[in-house]
């Protein structure tokens, strides 16, 4: 395949893809006088409409995506993104409404927000919810700030936040941004939180424990109630990372496990598309005790009409402008309405069924460090293949040759050479079986022709890229000189 040039490389003066209506107000000759005007924008492209359409169409063909096939990225929940959701979000009645419009002219938008808040509370078993956070990580930051604000009001913000060693990297990062020092809690041989270590570290100086449940191994924290008790006994809060809610919807509710605050990723569990890395949405749901600290504004109902309440003295303030990624929130609402209570329960069950089917089908061919029962995902390792000098990266790259997207490899850190597989409820048995066959084939290839794997991928528009060179002397933009 020919590589698509950078737009800047096909740019030339005089080409056009855009024309403005001519100025219909009397032209002010000196309109620019006195303004710091730039002569030109050096290097800024200038191309034709056809060139743009082909440029992006060709580039699109160099992307793998859910619409093409299985995308088993662990902890990312790459499920099908219903097309009706896109249509709904694009309805002019929503897409054209200005966030600062008088509230009586955007009652529809406000009802959408209120409905989704209420649904999140029902699904998670919590008391109140904010939709403002733009993504999971911002949800974590918001949640930790709520906890800090509550402790502060009691006179002592406390010093530490506990995070299990199996957690995703955003957890410690968000805790740190909230002004806390992070301490790690060990995982036991079962891959879940080590209760003794937790009890030992859980003192009156600890503000909260951040758990992911089911955790990044896909294992449900069976002792979650006990964990909550240990944390609460010292006046701490239990934060739950809801990244893996897809395993739980309609089956159990964090609020019923004494979780005090959690964030939910609408772009995982609730089918809003990942868009190549955003936008997402990370609603935060809390128990009553934390409600006063939620970001402003809050959507309230006053005499039959919705309004925005800014008068919240204890609020941590805003975490972003306006009310969250509204377009994303709309898509989540469409998903909830499409599926209903039984549908939401079914996605969890089928996600777990699919993951266990893969696990059972591959546990001879790939090493399972942790053998505890898992829910929506399972974490293999490259231990068997290492004998032949083949790493999880080689396996991943070889999968690409077979037209399948690789699993997650960058974590959990407690599994070396991890292959974290999350098929989601989306996949048909046919696609699952195909994936399983491919994985088995690769396991065989690792024995017979490891070099083939180490050189993979072979079929792609580019082959293995030199990430070291990219990091050693970063080239982060196009410059005329280079071409």
């Amino acid at each position: 395949m020919i590589r698509e040039p950078l737009i800047f490389e096909i740019s030339d003066k005089g080409k056009r893809a855009y024309a403005l209506p001519k100025l219909d107000v009397p032209e002010k000759k000196d309109a620019l006088a006195g303004l710091p005007v730039r002569a030109e924008i050096p290097g800024f492209p200038q191309v034709s409409e056809v060139e743009i359409v082909r440029h992006f169409t060709r580039l699109s063909q160099q992307n793998y995506c859910v619409d093409i096939g299985i995308y088993p990225l662990g902890s990312c929940t790459m499920k099908y993104n219903p097309k009706i959701n896109e249509k709904v979000a694009a309805l002019p009645g929503f897409s054209e409404s200005h966030p600062l419009a008088p509230v009586d002219t955007v009652q529809g938008d406000l009802e959408v927000l209120r409905l989704v808040e209420d649904y999140m509370c029902e699904i998670a078993g919590m008391d109140a919810c904010t939709l403002q956070p733009a993504a999971g990580a911002q949800g974590e930051l918001t949640g930790m700030m709520l906890i800090r604000a509550c402790h502060e009001e009691r006179g002592d913000p406390r010093k530490y936040v506990l995070v299990p060693d199996s957690a995703h990297g955003t957890n410690p990062s968000s805790a740190h941004l909230s002004g806390y020092t992070v301490k790690e809690v060990k995982s036991n041989e079962g891959g879940t939180v080590d209760l003794e270590d937790l009890a030992r570290q859980m003192t009156g100086e600890v503000a909260a424990l951040m758990v992911t449940n089911p955790n990044t191994l896909g294992v449900f924290e069976y002792d979650i109630i006990k964990i909550a008790e240990i944390v609460h006994a010292k006046g701490g809060f239990l934060y739950m990372d809801g990244a893996n809610m897809n395993a739980l919807t309609g089956k159990c509710r964090p609020g019923d496990m004494s979780v005090d605050v959690l964030h939910i990723n609408l772009h995982k569990t609730f089918s809003t598309p990942h868009g190549g890395g955003g936008p997402g949405a990370g609603p935060v749901a809390v128990k009553k005790v934390l409600e006063p600290y939620l970001p402003v504004p809050r959507v309230v109902k006053k005499g039959g009409a919705y309004a925005l309440d800014y008068a919240r003295p204890k609020s941590i303030g805003r975490v972003k402008s306006f009310y969250g990624n509204f377009g994303v929130i709309l898509k989540a609402l469409a998903y909830i309405w499409s599926l209903g209570p039984d549908g939401l329960k079914e996605i969890a069950e089928v996600a777990v069924l699919n993951a266990n089917y893969i696990r059972r089908s591959l546990d001879k061919d790939y090493h399972l460090k942790y053998t505890a029962p898992t829910l929506h995902e399972c974490v293999f390792s490259d231990k068997f293949q290492k004998e032949f000098g083949v790493s999880n990266l080689d396996i991943a790259k070889r999968l690409i040759d077979y037209g399948v997207h690789p699993p997650t490899m960058s974590f959990p850190l407690i599994v070396h050479g991890a292959l974290m597989v999350e098929p989601t409820e989306t996949e048909s048995k046919r696609d699952l079986d195909q994936f399983i066959d491919i994985m088995k084939t690769i396991a065989r290839e690792a024995k017979t022709e490891p070099e083939l794997l180490k050189a993979a991928p072979h079929q792609t528009v580019v082959r293995r890229l030199d990430e070291t060179a990219a990091a050693r002397n970063p080239i982060l933009k196009w410059e005329k000189s280079r071409t």
């Binding site: 009156g204 609460h232 004494s258």
Partner: protein, 362 residues
């Protein structure tokens, strides 16, 4: 016989030990009056590790506490403490207790040593459909009470908890003498002071550190003997004497712990009725006018006729006279009412007086 973690300390101090509901406890060290006055004038340190601690946890923790307690636990935010009763369906006392809101889904109940097992069994029986977990880790808890006007001055250097800003009936976690503790501004003496809970397996240092820090302030260890005279001067009830399963909070002059408006709770119906119809008897304080000391169970006579018996009675080390508590019929219970108490051979004159006998002046 159970021993508290401070047993050796007591023996080293030459305390007179007795068995108190299964525990080997100090009744006095230097003498009740000394200890009593030290606590009133400076500070006293009490080993009350025999008290019972019960955990109520889980999603319905608050709802459950509301069910078993007549007081309104919904008013508690984390760090706040509430005095209440544990009532039978008849509205009478199973025990009185403190409710600590540690977290909206974690409550600590502190009950009397004599009743711990009975209370825990009773509370478990109430669990029904509530999504709560119950636990009775009483034996793992140690508890010291530091009471007296010098309490803050003595404790502050030993802890990272800011004591001065602490309101009465609040609690906070922190280190005391390097040990993780729950420090609570509560007590059973009528003085300012703190109760210090610890789950540390080896809390001995707490006693030593507090005694050491307290020496320049005139601290003294106080045994169960003075604990009783102190609480009585402050008119703090003792289960078994002043309250029991035949008496209700309304009769015991604790109407303020009964919040009818909060919704249903054990014994509510009966108490509502009693409240409407009015109580027939009431717990009041008395002084003995004649010489002698009135003690519990001594017979009481109104106009010559038997009228029950003394609930609590003792010699007040502070006022140097005999004081006590007694249930008298409404109408005969007003301050100034005179009646008689049978002291072995003679009947001694007593008079109803305003309570509490002692109110702290700082």
């Amino acid at each position: 016989m159970k021993q508290t973690p401070f047993n050796a300390h007591h023996r080293k101090l030459g305390a007179r030990m007795i068995e108190f509901c299964g525990w080997d406890m100090p009744v006095e060290y230097k003498g009740i009056i000394d200890e009593h006055l030290a606590c009133r004038k400076a500070a006293g340190l009490f080993d009350v590790s025999h008290m019972g601690e019960i955990h109520v946890t889980g999603k319905d923790a608050l709802a459950f506490v509301q069910h078993i307690s007549p007081n309104d636990a919904a008013r508690l935010s984390p760090g706040h403490v509430q005095y209440t009763g544990l009532l039978t369906p008849k509205g009478t006392y199973v025990d009185d207790m403190l409710v600590y809101c540690i977290h909206p889904e974690f409550y600590l109940l502190v009950v009397n040593a004599a009743n711990t097992d009975k209370d825990y069994a009773y509370i478990q029986a109430q669990k029904g459909g509530f999504a709560v977990a119950l636990d009775n880790p009483s034996d793992r808890y140690s508890q010291l009470a530091l009471q007296g006007r010098k309490a803050v001055a003595i404790l502050q250097p030993l802890t990272d908890v800011a004591l001065a800003p602490m309101k009465s009936f609040t609690s906070a976690f922190g280190k005391v003498a390097g040990k993780e503790c729950l420090v609570s501004r509560t007590g059973y003496t009528g003085e300012d002071g703190f109760e210090i809970y610890s789950l540390d397996p080896d809390p001995g240092i707490l006693w030593d550190a507090i005694m050491e820090a307290g020496r320049p302030h005139g601290i003294q260890p106080v045994g169960l003997g003075a604990r009783d005279t102190l609480r009585l001067e402050a008119k703090l009830p003792l289960y078994g004497n002043d309250i029991d399963d035949t008496t209700t909070p309304l009769e015991a002059d604790f109407k303020w712990i009964v919040k009818f408006k909060k919704g249903d709770f054990l014994g509510r119906d009966v108490l509502v009725r009693q409240n409407e119809q009015g109580i027939t008897r009431k717990l009041v304080g008395f002084e003995l006018v004649d010489r002698g000391i009135a003690r519990p169970h001594y017979p009481v006579f109104l106009g010559g006729a038997p009228a029950g018996q003394v609930a609590s009675g003792t010699f007040s080390p502070l006022f140097k006279k005999s004081i006590g508590l007694v249930y008298l019929p409404i109408g005969k219970a007003a301050v100034g009412t005179e009646f008689e108490i049978g002291l072995r051979d003679k009947k001694a004159k007593a008079v109803v007086v305003p309570t509490p006998f002692y109110k702290r002046d700082y």
